[in-house]
Amino acid sequence: MSKEWLICGAGIMTLASALMVVLSSNAIYSAIGLLISLFGLSALYLLWGSAFLSVIQVLIYAGAIVVLFVFVVMLLDMSRVVQTGKGPGWFTTLLVTGTGWIFSLFLLRALNRGNFAGAIEHKALGSISVLSKILFREYLWPFEVLSVFLLAVVISAYCLARPESLDNSGSDGVSIKGPKGGRS
């Protein structure tokens, strides 16, 4: 019984902090909300019996993606961004998220996938060795294709954020070596 309560608690934590992401007018508080939300999600995975997925969630999302977001917040001149607006406001947010929530519930019912209890009992998720055997036997081709895909992403990431083009345009950019450009 206590497990259901924990799942409910983690779910509420995830949703509440996700609301904070949307409602906060300060970008860095949004990032913190996202962080808490991801931890809630990770706790949910853990409670559903997939420790591996839970740890990967922390490693990739909390440890890498949100770091990237915080980086961007710090890289930009936030004093300009913070003052531009107050966020969408409570009413709009609740309306949009509520509509989306009800819509997805209907979608789940329509697809007849509403059986969450079945998903919790799926044993393959729990054991990491079973999971990896499935990944490297049955899903070997998707796995190999993924490496090609990631290579494409590396190349496109470079092309989008090409240092030469951006460094020249942003003449007020400061090098990390020191406040007055890198002479040290």
Partner: protein, 356 residues
């Protein structure tokens, strides 16, 4: 779980945590005495015998100093940043296997906070959260030096996380388990008919080297202490911090250092095992007492852990600091390819070893 069991477990967790926290005052003293020794000067020698109480005096001084919160900072983030760096530092030690087990009133208690199935992955995941305390602390300080230090620290930590993970992956490949406890059990015994202890380092020498170098960078130690270069950035991300808030950043740093040492001890240096003496032999010497065995094992584990800490201090007072571009080049051009080669070579050797 009964109430007695729960309280013993909680006490155990607190004591294990405290044993790692204790590294901080010890290291405060060791670092300065060793610096004195290496630089041919006495070091702190006034407070108590050999200046041993210097660490306690330092802690008391930290507590009784004014704790300023400057006007220009983001107050909330400024206050929680030290806690945010202390929490991951505390959490990472959960998977460290200190010793085998103790029996109290007929119940077994593992001397480890929790033997997770995902042990090493858990340590890497929580370790990657250490960047937030530094990032938020630096940003909230609203000081150019702090921000620069925080950016440097985070760029450095994320760059070195990949070789750290890949080096640890080599050990996983060899041992075939994520559990650090399992790894330590597999290192019991000897190799080549008693010539060498069966330690991970003899199977993963390159992996250990990469892991060791990366652990220096992850804990912001010399030669990778660019986030807090005193000549360029005043003190880096904690420039605006004072009193115990500053000390908490230092605490987290030393605790991370201790956890990294413990991780290397468990993965590459046999954990709690004494070389050439197997657990079974030791148990018979001690008259079959499991609790005595656990105490000896704890001693051995901490001996190895403190040896690593001493090596860190030694390196700090020996090597000069990298430049930032060199630091990035080492991570991406040397360590990541090397750790991938380490993985491939280990995999191929294991293939032939298992195919015999």
């Amino acid at each position: 779980m009964s109430a007695v069991e729960f309280s013993i477990n909680t006490l155990k967790i607190f004591l294990l945590w405290f044993s790692i926290v204790n590294v901080v005052p010890v290291m405060l003293w060791v670092e300065r005495r060793a610096a004195g020794l290496i630089q041919d000067r006495p070091g702190p020698n006034r407070v108590g015998p050999f200046g041993l109480f210097q660490a306690i005096a330092d802690v008391i001084k930290f507590f009784w100093k004014m704790d300023p919160v400057p006007k220009h900072v983001n107050r909330f983030l400024f206050l929680i940043a030290p806690i945010l760096s202390l929490i991951p530092a505390s959490l990472t030690l959960a998977a460290l296997p200190f010793a085998d087990k103790m029996v109290i009133w007929g119940r077994e208690y593992q001397l480890q906070v929790s033997d997770l199935h995902v042990g090493i992955l858990y340590m890497l995941a929580i370790g990657s959260l250490g960047a937030y305390g530094i990032l938020f602390g630096g940003w909230a300080s609203n000081n150019k030096y702090s921000l620069l230090g925080a950016l440097r620290a985070s760029a450095q930590m994320i760059s070195y996380e990949i070789p750290l993970g890949l080096a640890a992956c080599g050990a996983v490949l060899f041992f075939g388990t994520f559990s650090l406890r399992g790894m330590v059990f597999m290192q019991d015994g000897t190799l080549f008919g008693g010539l060498l202890p069966k330690w991970g380092i003899f199977f993963q020498p390159l992996g250990f080297l990469i892991f060791f170098i990366t652990s220096l960078a992850e804990t912001n130690r010399v030669p990778f202490d660019l986030p807090e270069t005193e000549g360029e950035l005043v003190a880096g991300f904690h420039t605006e911090y004072g009193s115990m808030k500053f000390a908490m950043f230092m605490m987290a740093e030393y605790m991370n250092l201790a956890t990294m040492s413990g991780l290397m001890t468990a993965m590459y240096f046999g954990g709690w095992h004494i070389p050439y003496v197997s657990d079974a032999t030791l148990l018979s010497w001690l008259g079959g007492s499991v609790n005595l065995l656990a105490i000896v094992q704890l001693g051995v584990f901490f001996f190895k852990l403190y040896t690593f800490l001493l090596i860190y201090v030694w390196i700090r007072w020996t090597l000069p600091r990298f430049r930032f571009d060199q630091l990035m080049r080492v991570a991406w051009k040397n360590l990541i390819p090397l750790s991938m080669i380490n993985l491939i070579v280990t995999a191929i050797l294991l293939y032939f070893w298992e195919m015999r």
